[in-house]
């Protein structure tokens, strides 16, 4: 079939999906600790020993059920980062910002989170979480506003 359209025809639309995600006991406890205590909990695997943050109900390394949660951090080391130059829907900070993978003290996995577009955010840099005020927290991962470089606390955001 030969088709030489003068212009293409499109149909534009938008899907809107309201969701309610059931957290489960482990993630629910993790989020409650962020909200109520400003603490970051990791899942400790009794079988292989991996300390994972955020915690999951089953060890992502060996599949064993997670029965213990342990506080980690709050400081951590940047293992990788990426600069984002355009605003992204669903991300609560304006561009430019950075995504960071943070290995929190005592953890064996990285937590994906946000950071300011600050040149002190480099691989190996030590960072600390900046929590929202207690009244602003909602039991979400964004109860941590972002991770800031050591020495940057109190510089404002």
């Amino acid at each position: 079939m030969t088709l030489q359209p003068p212009e293409l025809i499109y149909m534009d639309g938008e899907s809107r999906c309201d969701y309610s995600w059931t957290t489960g006991e482990v993630v629910g406890t993790f989020l409650a600790a962020l909200r109520d205590r400003g603490k970051i909990l990791a899942g400790v695997c009794e079988s292989c020993g991996q300390v994972a943050v955020p915690p999951t109900s089953y060890c992502e390394s060996c599949g064993a059920e997670i029965a213990e949660l342990r506080e980690v951090g709050p400081r951590g080391v940047v293992m990788s980062w990426a600069r984002v130059g355009a605003d992204l829907e669903g991300v609560p900070v304006a561009a430019p910002f950075r995504y960071v993978l943070v290995r929190l003290a005592g953890a064996d996995t990285e937590l994906l989170h946000l950071a300011p577009d600050d040149d002190r955010i480099t691989i190996g840099a030590t960072v600390s979480p900046e929590f929202k005020l207690q009244a602003e927290r909602g039991g979400e991962i964004t109860d941590i506003r972002w991770f800031v470089p050591d020495g940057a606390q109190g510089e404002g955001s």
Partner: protein
């Protein structure tokens, strides 16, 4: 099991809620492009005739749905046909383009072998009968969607 780390006083977080807005652009591709272009520009409904089994297919697609033979022979169909079945939609739902209540119908256009879904107009639900003749009422402003036909009315 996890009681040792339960926050004192506070319940665990049981749900996280949110909204995903997903804008999309659907590109019609060669077959739908021609189908909707004919509707938009010429108020014509076109289908494809299967060279093997002879079925006339609508909306157009690259393979015959009856015998899986590749098809590429375009044929013009009537914008009139026979009402096969219908239902009255009372419930609102996402993506609806007409406010309920309205009559959703399957129509066998003259010359086609596949039924065509659309809505009926200029008729009350109590007046609809199976097998009645219906004809497309074309929209004044056409953009290349199924809404280029406003509805089918009784002949």
């Amino acid at each position: 099991m996890l009681e040792a780390v339960q926050p004192p006083g506070g319940d665990i977080v049981k749900r996280v809620t949110g909204t995903l807005d997903i804008p999309y652009r659907f590109s019609y591709g060669a077959y739908y492009d021609r189908f909707f272009r004919e509707m938009r520009d010429n108020k014509r409904i076109v289908g494809l005739a299967c060279p093997k089994c002879g079925a006339v297919l609508l909306p157009p697609r690259p393979y015959c749905g009856f015998c899986y033979t590749p098809v590429d022979e375009w044929v013009e169909l009537s914008d009139e046909g026979e009402l096969l079945t219908w239902t009255v939609v009372h419930l609102p739902f996402i993506g609806q383009s007409t406010e309920p209540p309205y009559i959703y119908a399957f129509i066998m256009l003259d010359g086609a072998d596949v039924q065509f879904p659309h809505i009926l107009g200029e008729v009350e639900p109590g007046e609809v009968t199976p097998g009645m003749r219906v004809k497309a009422v074309w929209a004044e402003e056409r953009t290349g969607t199924l809404h280029d036909i406003k509805y089918f009315r009784p002949v």
